[in-house]
């Protein structure tokens, strides 16, 4: 998100899900949409039925490829090269939107163009493995479309050069003027129900709610006034940094609400070791997660069905969730727990109803000031929505970018941190599959789901399997420099030879035992979960 915020001044999906069906070109890169955002994929399929063109760039033959007109099977971690190469073609063939560039952007300069000069389709082909003809075709399709939308997820961001990837995507959209209008934009699809909301709400170390920077004195004063206490202007630690600082002894206690970093963070063994060494760990969750097992205190929380509140979905739509049942036993909703803890700590948070919390958010952040629970009764509203008579904003940047002009960023291709070598010859890429969800805390407790997706597996290309004499369904050992897991081989042509894929849902063979917690994007601190080097052996146990 920080990437998009840098170029546009705001980091979120620029368009609405509904607008997808009016796209005439859909460019999906680094998103297994059909499995991970199934309902967004349905809109894409609908658009294709209506005549839209679909380009899918993914190292794996993800299910959406079946509907695509063009599939760019790139090598993992080569997005910048692919995108730069496409832009090279667009510049060479003068397919860019001159008017848009002049009026609404900055940075489309000599330095930027000189950089693109190197990325001929031939160079692109060499780095990405995608044939130059396909690169050229993709470039032309995207550049000549009227209403082109780009959709991406963690396949773009979970890299040590994730921000570069995002910059490249933004460059492409800016170059072709595919922004600031309906069905045309740059759309990161959020992987969890309220990622957008928790970011909006300031659960990020450098910003208060509404992306207001903690180090700006005026902002700090505003919140000191609102909350009636003195606040720190020192930006805090990102999640990976918390782990490093804990290792260094600088972080002594952690309060973890509804997260399971043991499985979701890279390098499981390392994470467990650090969390165990904390002076004090509080975990608040609905299940005894792998993280909760390490805690000093575990607090039982309410599930989504047991509380009132709002979620903000991937298209910035604030929607009401409603209490349907009572939580089990003595479990309480997270808001109650925080407020009670706060009171115990000597700071009283006084709200008679959860809607009052939302009203306070509106006071802190003007973009949602126009949203109220009573309005939400009639359906969700997309921020920005500054006033109570504002209809909400289906797509962003109609009148301009928050930072003034959209900024082109010169991006050079950097390989991933851990390329395969003789010892670890395979590239491992991780992700989700359709049936299970995230660390499996919820879905692995749903019987029918476990019947169809019962166990971990590693997808491996038949050529590789043949070479190593690995049968489909056979147990194998996958090892990286961090650790080793045992799981079944799924021999399938989904990844290309040399690439393997492991879903990260399964604690018994956690993919993140293998990934590298130190390979971070310098800007966003996102770990490189999509590329690391592994070795595969027949399991002898």
């Amino acid at each position: 998100m920080a990437g998009l915020a840098t170029v546009f001044g705001s980091g979120a999906m620029t368009n609405s899900i509904q607008e997808i069906e009016d796209n005439d070109l859909i460019f999906v890169i680094g998103s297994n949409t059909k499995e991970n955002h199934p309902i967004v994929a349905l809109r894409m399929i609908k658009a294709v039925r209506r005549g839209a063109r679909l380009i899918v760039a993914d190292p794996r033959k993800v299910p959406l490829v079946r509907f695509a007109h063009l599939w760019l099977q790139q090598k993992p971690g080569t997005d910048v090269a692919l995108l730069n190469s496409m832009m090279h073609v667009i510049v060479k063939e003068e397919l860019y939107d001159r008017e848009f560039i002049v009026e609404r952007t900055e940075g489309f300069n000599r330095e930027f163009l000189d950089n693109l000069e190197e990325y001929t389709p031939e160079v692109g082909e060499k780095i990405t493995g995608v044939s130059k003809d396909k690169i050229i075709e993709a470039a032309r399709l995207y550049a000549t479309a009227e209403r082109a939308g780009i959709y991406y997820t963690m396949g773009i961001t979970q890299h040590s050069h994730g921000s570069d990837n995002v910059f490249s995507i933004a460059n492409l959209a800016l170059m072709c003027g595919n922004l600031g209008k309906e069905s045309s934009g740059v759309n990161p699809l959020r992987g969890q129900n309220n990622v957008q909301g928790s970011t909006d709400m300031g659960c990020i170390p450098d910003s208060y709610p509404g992306y207001q920077k903690v180090n700006l004195p005026a902002v700090k004063e505003k919140f000191e006034h609102l909350w009636g206490v003195k606040l720190s202007e020192k930006p805090g630690l990102t999640a990976p940094e918390m782990i490093f600082e804990a290792e260094a002894g600088n972080v002594r206690a952690m309060y973890i609400m509804g997260e399971n970093p043991v499985l979701s963070d890279p390098d499981v063994n390392h994470t467990v070791k650090i969390l165990k060494e904390l002076d004090f760990l509080v975990v608040q969750d609905i299940f005894m997660t792998e993280t909760a097992e390490l805690a000093h205190v575990v607090l039982p929380a309410a599930s989504f069905a047991e509380k009132d509140g709002t979620f903000t979905n991937t298209e910035r739509r604030v929607q009401r969730i409603r209490k349907a049942i009572d939580p089990p036993g003595r479990a309480r909703d997270d808001a109650w727990i925080i407020m009670e803890l706060s009171k115990t700590m000597g700071y009283e948070m006084k709200y008679s109803h959860i809607s009052e919390v939302f009203n306070e958010i509106g006071m802190a952040w003007p973009a949602v000031a126009g949203i109220s629970y009573s309005r939400l009764e009639r359906g969700g509203i997309q921020w920005p929505c500054p006033t109570s008579d504002h209809p909400g904003t289906p797509y962003l940047f109609k009148g301009g970018f928050p930072r003034g002009r959209g900024r082109f960023t010169t991006v050079r291709f950097r390989p991933s941190m851990e390329p395969p070598d003789e010892e670890y010859p395979f590239v491992l890429t991780t992700g989700r599959q359709l049936f299970q969800y995230h660390t499996g805390t919820m879905t692995r407790r749903v019987d029918p789901i476990n019947k169809v997706a019962p166990e971990p597996y590693v997808e491996i290309h038949p050529d590789d399997a043949l070479r190593m004499d690995i049968q489909d369904g056979e147990m194998v050992r996958v090892s990286s420099r961090r650790g080793s897991i045992r799981l079944k081989a799924m021999v399938v042509k989904r990844p290309e030879p040399g690439v393997v894929f492991i879903p990260f849902h399964f604690k018994e063979a956690a993919a993140n035992v293998l990934t590298d917690g130190h390979a971070l994007d310098p800007l966003c601190k996102i770990p490189e979960l999509k590329v690391c080097a592994v070795r595969i052996e027949k399991d002898r146990a």
Binding site: N193, V214, K234, F287, P300, S303, F304, A331, D447
Partner: protein, 346 residues
């Protein structure tokens, strides 16, 4: 725009509108079983027949475009007779076990039988009987109750892009099934269940969990990915027994396997039910007062000893906006640090 007259009422509709859509806009009811505005018109159930002036025979309103100057009669003696015959025919090949059917109370066929007051049936005869059960874990397929409206087949192909099922066999033996009548093996999105007008397709997890009339329905938002699909929780005895979604929502009523069938974790016996404090390496049950007091004293101690920045908080993308707001407020205003983050990075 075209202006047509339906049952003496003038209605203006855009080009391409069907007679059925036009009638609905005007608040005129026409019975249907196979129509779904989200799917391609199909014209199979024949219940929506209407008489258009100048046409030699009744036409299906779901497939016939409304044209300018058209005069439509949605009901007359012949049409009502045909509709009644159709419902009778359907009931003559139906188990009619409404007293034990999950769908009772939410079943279009049942409604039609009631509407046409079909206590007697002129057409009793052979009934399809299938003994084989589909072993898939999600969807109970009782093909004896299938009225062959084709909605499941169409939604699977047109919307979901999967085409896991189609109609096999001919005539009276026609049947919706997966290839070679194997067990259903698909994405299990359950769109088919959501469009089925009868009890032919039911979510297995809901079986026997409560009658339609006893269910409390609560509109909320799916807890899984970021799509933000609108869902309706069906609650019976403090238990979520089914998840549905309305066609007029932002997700058009479509859900994925997790959203539709992945709700049982809520009522899982594994749920944490009480605060736990680790003592001597083991978790012990505690009251809220104990637990919160224990946390408060420890956090205060550490803050005092190492400073506020020695404490870090991870919030959750699964929690509400309000909870996230309160969490960061707690970290910032109560603890005094900006060490707050969540999993947007993962």
């Amino acid at each position: 725009m075209n202006t047509l007259m339906i049952d003496g009422k003038y209605i203006e509709v855009p080009e391409g509108t069907t007679i059925l859509e036009a009638a609905r806009r005007a608040g005129i009811y026409i019975p249907t079983l196979c129509d779904d505005p989200r799917l391609e018109p199909y014209g199979a159930c024949r219940l929506c027949l209407v008489q258009v002036k100048g046409m030699p025979r009744p036409v299906t309103s779901c497939t016939t475009p409304a044209t300018d100057g058209m005069e439509v009669q949605t009901s007359n003696e012949q049409i009502e007779r045909i509709r009644k015959t159709i419902v009778e025919l359907l009931l003559s090949d139906h188990p009619n076990d409404c007293m034990v059917c999950e769908k009772a109370g939410d079943c279009t066929l049942q409604e039609l039988a009631y509407f046409y007051n079909l206590r007697e049936n002129r057409f009793w005869g052979e009934r399809r009987q299938y003994t084989r059960k589909d072993a898939n874990p999600f969807i109970e397929r009782d093909m004896e109750k299938c009225v062959l409206c084709g909605k499941c087949v169409r939604v699977c192909e047109e919307v979901q892009g999967v085409a896991a099922i189609d109609i096999a066999y001919r005539g009276f033996q026609a049947k919706v099934c997966p290839p070679f009548e194997r067990d259903l093996d698909c994405e299990f999105c359950g769109q088919c269940v959501s469009v089925c007008p009868t009890g032919a397709l039911i979510g297995k997890q809901s079986l026997g969990k409560g009658r339609q009339k006893d269910i409390k329905r609560v509109d909320t938002v799916c807890p899984y990915c970021g799509c933000g699909c609108n869902i309706t929780l069906h609650v019976s005895r403090n238990e979520v027994i089914r998840v549905t979604s309305e066609p007029d929502t932002l997700n058009e009523g479509w859900l994925c396997v997790k959203g539709r069938f992945g709700f049982r974790f809520v009522n899982s016996p594994d749920r944490l039910k009480t605060p736990l404090i680790r003592r001597n390496g083991r978790f012990e049950e505690a009251t809220w007062t104990e637990a919160l007091g224990y946390i408060a004293s420890n956090l205060k101690r550490i803050k005092k000893q190492y400073g506020a920045d020695a404490i870090a908080g991870l919030s959750s993308a699964r929690c509400t906006n309000e909870e996230n707001y309160l969490f960061q407020k707690f970290m910032r205003a109560v603890i005094g640090t900006n060490n707050v983050d969540h999993c947007a990075r993962y």
